[in-house]
């Protein structure tokens, strides 16, 4: 069996050292293998560690525990058979397209003439012939990512890792590029034996992959696995594909309540994590849901299409609605609650009032901040204690982001305020003062 396996992860864990020196678990007990001839998609919310997992496989960062191997050998650094395509393209802006594509060959010490030949062939294959002398800044996003893919493929990699490679492109360009790669793959015109895609676009994953792995967040573990036996090319409108997309949406939005294993209960703090979204998007989605044609409940894929939001934007927003008690989510559907419907009809002041109330009753972090401020004689408090509190189980930058979300929501609900220059949280000014 090991003959057939390209990459294998066994009980891989990764933690990052936070500001106070204590490790924070990002990935825990991940077992996974990439077989020959397989395209696998990794899905997960932001903060689920899917990019970290990809980087462990690329040899960019080492795993803390467990074993990561490529063709039976331990991964101890970037291997020459593994190439990567980046979300932000990561082209060297001072090198021409040709030079960018030659980069990997140059690093291998290949002679200039030979690498020119290889790069020319690859540019031709990716539809970039004639662009060799251009600088990346002259190209559109789609063309830039073509260069990024050509640069990865020219080294004849065994394994191709794609880190949200299409998410910086508009939908149409992303789709075209995706189809081009699948065509190269299905017609065996590239020697690549396995592709791993990290994505947050559910449709993209369903259209491309033979297998979808869904990671839970905080710490990232493999939660579900969906095997897709449909032949490619797949039509996005076919009933099978729609059903699969629905299924994956359902899996992605499943309440993580049963996630915690029975034994792990001791370690759980109150979950202070907040979905990364903003008030205007929450309200916009709520209004959209309340109106026709949804009239209060919707299928998530349809809602995504109607709202023009990517999955990365839509899912946290839905989660926020559910968290605030304004909607319920069930198996890839979302429906507004009684309160949500009232909210949709309410005037601005009432909306903010409801928002504030829900915030205090349903969001532990907001309640904690409010409580703390009320205990202070001055009604103010520096932000640091809260950041420290969050850093107990989040990475430093994530903790900052969560607090930012909490601050925005708190301001909107008039629960507390924040002074940017002093970095202090405070109770809102009372009217009578």
């Amino acid at each position: 069996m090991s003959e057939n396996v390209l990459m294998e992860l066994h009980a891989v864990a990764k933690s990052f050292r936070s500001a106070d020196g204590a490790p924070r678990l990002i990935l825990d007990d991940v077992n996974f293998s990439l077989a020959k001839g397989e395209i696998v998609a990794l899905l997960g919310k932001s903060g689920s560690g899917k990019s970290t997992l990809l980087r462990i496989m690329a040899g960019l960062i080492p795993a803390d525990a467990g074993k990561a191997s490529y063709r039976g050998k331990d991964i101890r650094g970037p291997a020459s058979g593994v190439a990567m395509v980046f979300q932000s393209f990561a082209l060297f802006p001072w090198l021409t397209v040709q030079q960018n594509v030659e980069l990997g060959l140059e690093a291998q010490g290949m002679a200039p003439l030979e690498r020119e030949k290889r790069a020319d062939a690859m540019l031709e294959m990716m539809g970039l012939a004639g662009f060799g002398g251009a600088l990346p800044r002259e190209l559109s996003g789609g063309m830039r990512q073509r260069v990024g893919i050509a640069r990865a493929l020219v080294t004849n990699p065994d394994v191709l890792l794609m880190d949200e490679a299409f998410s910086a492109l508009d939908v149409l360009t992303g789709e075209t590029l995706r189809n081009d790669i699948l065509e190269l793959w299905d017609s065996n015109r590239i020697p690549t034996r396995g592709i791993l895609i990290v994505s947050h676009n559910i449709e993209e994953a369903v259209m491309m992959a033979d297998r979808i792995i869904i990671l839970s967040s905080g710490p990232g573990r493999i939660r579900h696995e969906v095997t897709i036996a449909l032949p490619r090319p797949r039509t996005s409108d076919s009933a099978e594909v729609r059903a699969l997309i629905d299924e994956v949406y359902g899996l992605m939005t499943m309440r993580p309540a049963h996630e915690a294993r029975p034994g792990a209960a001791i370690a759980t703090h109150t979950d202070f994590r907040l979905p990364e979204t903003d008030v205007s998007r929450i309200e916009g989605l709520l209004d959209l849901l309340a109106d026709a044609p949804f009239n209060g409940s919707a299928d998530l894929p349809k809602l995504a299409e109607e709202a023009g939001l990517s999955d990365e934007e839509l899912l946290p927003t839905c989660e926020a609605l559910a968290l605030l008690g304004l909607a319920h989510m069930d198996k890839g559907d979302i429906s507004l609650s009684q309160l949500g419907l009232r909210y949709a009809d309410a005037e601005q002041t009432l909306r903010q009032e409801i928002f504030g109330q829900q915030l205090l009753t349903h969001v532990p972090l907001a309640a904690r901040i409010r409580q703390q401020l009320e205990q202070e004689p001055t009604g103010t408090s520096p932000e640091e204690p809260f950041i420290e509190l969050l850093e107990e189980f989040l990475k430093a930058d994530e903790a900052k982001r969560v607090l930012e979300v909490a601050i925005e929501w708190g301001r909107y609900g008039e629960v507390y305020e924040y002074d940017f220059h002093t970095g202090r949280l405070k109770l809102p000014d009372q009217q009578e003062e």
Binding site: G59, P78, A90, K117, H421
Partner: protein, 577 residues
């Protein structure tokens, strides 16, 4: 599968193509530069014994020759600075342990005035080449080097630390070696900042040229043929005409290297701008255009780049075996810990020696006196920066909002920043003596004479980048007069202003050595302060007191940077657009 393709662009034979007219235009230029360099270099290695007077003539006919020598020195120093910057930045950004020591060290070195280095370095350099002018020449180059190197090294280091993470990852995924990464990623990314700092360094080199070429340390009086020595001699001889000629020569020199060196380099380096979109108008250079049109030059550069890209393969990683990264060695951890103990211990030892040195060699009274002098100079620096800001910020904003002027003003300001303050001595002495003014007050403006321009051109640049929409919005809301300045212009240029003011403040401390001690022939005007103290002690060759003065100045500059400018800088960064 790639066999089908044949190479379309082989190595172009250099002389296959005949010369075109651009070749004929460039040929004399290239030959002239080569000949001048060769001649100047030959003059550098003449026999010389200490004490022998080198004849310097005030005849303007000698000025081109002096200019050549000065330029050679400055470019040699620039090349050394560049190499220093490469090595420094490469080491400091790769090794955490080295970084902990090197960055503070750079901070200290940056605040040591040029005379301090000269006092230490002159004797060893002369001893290195006995009986030859090359030793003194090296000392002069070293002195210029010390006024150029630090900011370049710092800029390169900073850029290397801030290489975008995704490019770093790409470089690693494609298995580039450290050597390849430096040339393909780190250096190109650092290029714009490095070039800008090289230009600043050249200005800095001019500013202290007199001190570097007319060496008067510890009783020595050596003048090397060059513009700086020419100025020094003119001051001794009270020759105003010669000063005027020196100014002309300097202007010619600056225009020359700007047109022949920096302009083409800037235009060429335009591709290294990191923003991937087409932004500012690119710098143009006639020389670069000519070079690109000339067949010979093109053939040469093609071959040059081909050779260079061959050199990129020198240290490539040999597949996976070479990179089987060793598991973290337990010894490494102990070494780090030992290092962390060793460094503070060494600095404690240094403090102990310093205390005993002050106690036994100079006495506490003297040390206290020097600190008071430092406070006087501090007051002067801060006051003058404030005054210069009051004058220049409004003017700079006005200019910055008018793009048709701003580019020209930038060029002029850069020239003025290079202008050695010594050239102002005749005017200043004449005014102070005839009007019987107090030197303690009226010499002070000299300190910011060369450095105020940093405020000007930073603020001009800042004002030029105020988004047009912001200005339109302000107009639309009817903001006028003071309100518009308070709410729009001043906050918008604040970060740029702070950057300029930091540079100006650092430069002013260094300039105090020249500005507080002014001579014109036999007239000497002295303002009390740390600068004049160091200058007097250098003339007297009292090494203990030079060390004391320089040490105190370092401490002042570093404290000021840490507790004032850095705070302001962080504030500005938080509020920037």
């Amino acid at each position: 599968m790639f066999e089908l393709f044949t190479p379309r662009r082989g190595a172009r034979a250099l002389l296959e193509a005949g010369p075109n007219r651009w070749d004929w235009i460039l040929l004399p230029l290239v030959l002239a530069v080569l000949a001048a360099v060769a001649f100047g270099a030959m003059q550098m290695t003449r026999p010389f014994t200490v004490g022998e007077a080198t004849p310097i003539s005030l005849d303007p006919a000698y000025l081109p020759y002096y200019l050549l020598r000065t330029m050679l020195r400055m470019f040699t120093a620039l090349a050394c600075s560049l190499i220093f910057a490469f090595v420094f930045a490469a080491i400091a950004s790769k090794y955490r342990a080295a970084e902990k020591v090197m960055i503070p060290l750079l901070d200290v070195l940056q605040s040591v005035p040029i005379l301090g280095f000269q006092a230490i370095a002159i004797a060893p350099f002369i001893a290195l080449f006995p009986g030859n002018l090359l030793g003194v020449e090296c000392a002069a180059i070293f002195a210029i080097f010390t006024s150029q190197a630090w900011n370049m090294a710092f800029s390169l280091y900073q850029s290397m630390r801030t290489v975008p993470p995704e490019l770093n990852e790409a470089s690693r995924v494609f298995c580039q070696s450290g050597w390849q990464r430096f040339w393909r990623l780190e250096l190109p990314f650092a290029m714009p900042g490095l070039l800008w700092n090289m230009m600043m360094s050249m200005s800095g080199g001019w500013f202290f040229l007199v001190a570097a070429e007319a060496i008067s340390v510890a009783g020595q009086d050596i003048k090397l043929p060059g513009i700086g020595a020419y100025i020094a001699l003119a001051i001794e001889a009270e020759n105003g005409h010669a000063i005027a000629w020196a100014i002309c020569a300097m202007l010619a020199g600056i225009v020359l290297y700007d047109q022949l060196f920096f302009r083409p380099l800037l235009a060429w380096a335009d591709k290294f701008r990191f923003e991937e979109s087409q932004g500012d108008t690119a710098q143009g250079s006639w020389l670069l255009d000519w070079g690109r049109r000339s067949r010979w030059i093109r053939g040469l550069t093609d071959r040059f780049w081909l050779t260079l890209s061959g050199a990129l393969g020198w240290f490539s990683l040999r597949q996976d075996s070479a990179r089987a990264a060793a598991p973290p060695h337990p010894f490494g951890k102990y070494a780090t810990r030992a290092w962390n103990v060793l460094v503070p211990a060494a600095s404690l030892l240094a403090v102990y020696h310093l205390v005993t040195f002050i106690h036994s060699d100079v006495g506490w009274a003297e040390a206290g006196h020097v600190v008071v002098l430092g406070l006087i100079t501090l007051a002067r620096v801060m006051l003058l920066i404030a005054l210069a800001s009051l004058v220049w910020v409004p003017i700079a904003v006005w200019i910055g909002l008018r793009p048709q002027y701003s580019q020209r003003v930038q060029a002029v300001a850069q020239f003025l920043a290079a202008f050695p303050v010594n050239l102002m001595f005749p005017v200043v002495v004449f005014m102070l003596v005839t009007m019987k003014l107090n030197p303690n007050i009226w010499l002070s403006p000299l300190m910011v004479f060369g450095t105020q321009w940093y405020i000007l051109f930073n603020v001009v640049a800042g004002a030029a980048t105020i988004p047009n929409e912001l200005r339109l919005a302000a107009d639309n809301l009817g903001l006028k007069g003071w309100l518009k300045w308070k709410r729009v212009y001043l906050p918008a240029v604040f970060p740029a202003y702070v950057t300029g003011a930091i540079t100006a403040s650092g430069g002013s401390w260094n300039a105090s050595i020249v500005a507080e001690y002014v001579t014109w022939g036999k007239t000497t005007l002295i303002a009390d302060g740390l600068g004049s103290y160091i200058k007097r002690m250098t003339d007297a060759g009292d090494f203990h007191r030079i060390a004391l003065g320089i040490g105190v100045m370092c401490v002042f500059v570093m404290l000021l940077n840490r507790f004032f400018w850095r705070k302001l800088y962080l504030l500005a960064e938080n509020r920037s657009l």
